[in-house]
Symmetry: C2
Subunit: 201 residues, 2 copies
DNA sequence: TGATTTATAAAACGATCGTTCGTTCGTGTC
DNA sequence: GACACGAACGAACGATCGTTTTATAAATCA
């Protein structure tokens, strides 16, 4: 990795952590420059525009999410075990990744949801990919027979995302110490409702 | 209502709609001034500081939420009917209120959740009040016998908020036309799980 | 109507924004 | 030793930010 790549990554690391606190939209070249002890222009040259920097941060976030949440979970056998691993990793990922201020992607989703442009597109693509992964994982738990054949995988994934979002908000804004436990309760209820039973029907 | 109050309210209306698009943090005195065809200083004088304006917008949002979502629902008899009315109004409120760009409060929650200060406090207070209202409403549905006595009302409210949040995101960012239907499915599943049955246990 | 608050405006403040420009520094290559 | 190159810099650009000051117009009240 050349010197350029190295610096670029260092900037990105700092930007990532900063964006976690103040949001991707709140990033500023000046602030980022003094944090990395670089000149504004030197830093700027690595990205060409602020928007490019923001996009890079979003891509970084997606990559880390895949590394920290999805990839480890896919070492579990497909089915409920894998699904549960995703949920566990997901709820924990702001602690594991360098995200002192919460999930960058979710914050960006709320920030750009009605501001058309490349940033919105990037967030959208990432979240669509996540939803597809969730749907597929649920579908596999159906095909293993752990969930009922009539399970609506899209509905299941939809509700999973709801659990994640309210957990984030409860933790971060409401300081609810029960948030994580409630998330797991909700997940278990979801699984139980769709699980195959031997009571028939 | 004197002239001052009148202009102040007009500014607030515009700020409210604008904040729906670009967020409470994205509000700017300059932009707001030209939208209301006022001078920056003339507008500024009504609030004294930008933060005070932002707080006013958040309070406006809370008030409208109470007017549009809660108050009408409380005309329903307490119990499941009232709870369902809250959910229906809630899902619809960005259409009913002047919120072309989505729920101001939820966006502000994501924006300020780790930026200590009066804005975060205001959002927090509003969301805590909402949660309390939800918990109380669920608890009443328990006391009417419509929900089981061992229902965890806090858990119920927690999951309701999750449904709302994922619905907003699915509608606004993912353009999912099924979002509203899925929200109701999730709500029904929630109610069914906690409902009293005559099968016993 | 005249006096007096109140509401709005115009102009300017220093700060910060993203961006551009020209230059310097360091490194490796012929 | 001359050359080319990528990396970083300092200085400045015009624009916008929130805010203050000073002044005038409008509304309110006696």
């Amino acid at each position: 990795m050349g010197k350029g790549e190295q610096t670029r990554q260092a900037i990105l690391d700092e930007a990532f952590a900063l964006a976690s606190n103040i949001g991707v939209g709140g990033l500023s070249i000046g602030v980022l420059a003094e944090r990395t002890r670089m000149s504004k222009s030197g830093l700027f040259a690595h990205f060409g525009s602020k928007e490019e920097l923001q996009l890079a941060v979003l891509r970084e976030a997606q990559q880390r999410f895949a590394d920290v949440v999805l990839r480890p979970a896919f070492r579990q056998p497909r089915g409920l075990a894998r699904l549960r691993a995703i949920v566990i990793n997901w709820l924990d990922w702001t602690r594991v990744a360098n995200l002192p201020g919460g999930c960058v992607i979710n914050a960006a989703a709320a920030e750009f949801d009605d501001q058309p442009g490349p940033l919105r597109d990037e967030v959208r693509i990432g979240l669509l990919a996540l939803r597809r992964t969730l749907v597929d994982t649920v579908a596999k738990a159906v095909s293993t027979g752990e969930l009922r054949p009539d399970t609506d995988a899209e509905q299941f994934a939809f509700e999973l995302e709801g659990i994640y979002q309210v957990t984030q908000q409860s933790r971060r804004l409401l300081d609810d110490p029960e948030a994580d436990r409630r998330a797991l309760v909700a997940f278990d209820r979801l699984v139980r409702d769709y699980a195959s039973t031997n009571k028939g029907d």
